[in-house]
């Protein structure tokens, strides 16, 4: 099994959930995050004091998926999120050694 991890802009969450619903992917988990990357930070000025703000609001989306569907899941996210502008984000694939679904006790691919 694989864990597909995506750092994307917050307003993309709805789109991704919508897209996921139309696939066989069983679920996903979203975590609020702040990101720093090529996307230029900006300067915020509070009462005259200037601060270089490098961190931009992002979300981190995690999808657990079986080995076979991992690449297409990656592509699916890529497709949904792509705008071509800096800050679109990244998708990663990690290997998952084992999984259990707590409710049923199913393990491995069955638990995905």
């Amino acid at each position: 099994m694989k864990l597909v991890l995506a750092y994307v802009n917050p307003y993309r969450v709805d789109d991704i959930v919508e897209a996921v619903k139309n696939t066989e992917i069983s679920g996903l988990t979203v975590v609020e995050a702040q990101g720093f990357g090529r996307q230029a930070g900006h300067e915020e000025i509070y009462r005259g004091a200037e601060y270089e703000v490098d961190l931009v609001q992002k979300v981190r989306i995690e999808i657990l998926i079986d080995d076979i569907m991992a690449p297409e899941t990656m592509s699916m996210i890529e497709e949904v999120v792509h705008t071509g502008s800096i800050g679109d984000g990244k998708v990663l694939i990690l290997d998952v050694e084992d999984v259990v679904r707590i409710r049923t006790g199913e393990r491995g691919e069955d638990a995905v």
């Binding site: 802009n9 917050p10 307003y11 709805d14 789109d15 702040q34 900006h42 300067e43 915020e44 000025i45 509070y46 609001q57």
Partner: protein, 407 residues
């Protein structure tokens, strides 16, 4: 000078001022977190610029003729006051007339200023999360001079609606709520729906903020309505009572309808119902007894609830439901008062007068708001870019962030 009346009008003026921050929170809680500051500022800014406009010319234009001197008249009907009191200078000097017996003209002018502030602030709910800050500021400055001031004169300054037609508006059903509601409708249509409206879930980011706001609004509304008696007397106490009864009833009724229709009574429903009741009782507060207020509240609770559906039907994105609450609520109160008023003002023809006054207000505000908005749109544009809207107005317009909780 009646020190009790003066104390009450000063207190009421402060209460009405507080309603604008209250409204800001009420609205602010309903937008997404990325637009909270932009929403707050679009409300607060009215406390800035309208104060200046009113002090320099607005107050004098609206009510200058009641202090002394002549008004702009057309065939005997007062259209607008004068500019003799530019900068509100000398409004209480010896030789001036007292607008309201017992209280200084400066107290009256400040009380009225607070109404002039909150009225444009009410409109902003319709264009939440997408309007430019500069365009908004320019809009309310012009709108308050072109639309608000003449209407205030027409209703409360001895002008056509109040004097010639004889329609009643105790505390601002026409001048404040219908006025703001119509402007909201026009702006919502002209600026178009938010990105993602109707497709993605655009939910309130902090209902506790909204509830704080609703509490402050309810509190401040006693100044709004009972202060409109312009004295600390039986009429003020009665208006206070009507206000409380209508608010409590509308909130309760809204919850009941919500529960029956949708399955759940909600916090936002209570707040919405309360505000709807407060809106509806505003024009009538001084004219109905508690049971009349109860009826008005109950009607507002039901009708404004169903009026939320208008925007889905007619497909405009009145983001925070200014139309359903203020336009519809204002009409309910303005019209029902023709039926429910007790005492001197009760009478068959009052209902007709009220309806005419409502229609005049809708036409007046609708037309002028559309022209103003069109002008501003052509000159500087009403709406932020898609990119700015997506990023959120707090960062894109104001370069600030609402919440930072990492440390």
């Amino acid at each position: 000078m009646d020190s009790g009346a003066t104390a009450w009008i000063l207190t009421s003026s402060a209460l009405v001022l507080l309603m604008t921050p209250g409204l800001a929170l009420f609205y602010g809680g309903m937008v997404r977190g990325k637009n909270i500051l932009a929403m707050l500022l679009k409300n607060y800014i009215a406390m800035g610029v309208i104060t200046i406009v009113w002090t320099l010319i607005g107050g004098s234009l609206a009510f200058g003729h009641l202090i002394g001197g002549s008004a702009l008249e057309i065939s005997g009907t007062t259209i607008l006051g004068n500019l003799d009191y530019f900068g509100l200078r000398g409004i209480d000097l010896p030789g001036t007339e007292s607008i309201v017996g017992g209280i200084p003209n400066s107290a009256f002018m400040m009380f009225q200023l607070m109404f002039a502030i909150i009225t444009p602030a009410l409109i902003v709910g319709a264009v939440a999360e997408r309007m430019k800050f500069g365009a908004w500021t320019l809009f309310i400055i012009l709108w308050s001079i072109v639309v608000y001031v003449p209407l205030a004169t027409a209703v409360w300054g001895g002008g056509y609606i109040g004097e010639n037609l004889g329609a009643l508006d105790f505390a601002g059903g026409l001048v404040v709520h219908i006025n703001a509601g119509v402007a909201a409708l026009v702006l919502a249509i002209m600026i178009g729906p938010r990105l993602g409206y109707g497709t993605s879930a655009i939910r309130p980011h902090s209902l506790p903020l909204t509830l704080i706001g609703a509490g402050l609004l309810w509190f401040g509304w006693f100044g709004f309505n009972a202060g409109s008696a312009l004295a600390a007397d039986q009429a003020a106490a009665d208006a206070f009572m009507a206000t409380q009864v209508a608010a409590g009833t509308a909130a309760t009724v809204w919850l009941l309808v919500e529960k029956m229709v949708q399955g759940h009574a909600t916090t936002l429903g209570f707040a919405s119902g309360a505000v709807a009741g407060l809106v509806a009782i505003t024009p009538a507060a001084g004219f109905v007894d508690p049971l009349g207020a109860l009826v008005i509240g109950a009607v507002a609770g039901v009708v404004c609830f169903y009026a939320l559906r208008l925007k889905a039907i007619f497909k405009f994105d009145d983001s925070l439901d200014v139309v359903a609450v203020h336009l519809v609520g204002g009409i309910i109160g303005s019209v029902l008062l023709g039926v429910l008023a007790v005492g001197d003002v009760a009478g068959g023809s009052q209902l007709v007068k009220q309806v005419i006054a409502v229609v005049i207000t809708i036409v007046w505000t609708g037309a002028l708001t559309a022209i103003l908005a069109l002008l501003i749109d052509k000159c500087i544009g009403l709406r932020v870019t898609e990119e700015e809207e997506r990023q959120g107005l707090d960062i894109s317009l104001h370069n600030e962030q609402g919440y930072l909780l990492t440390e």
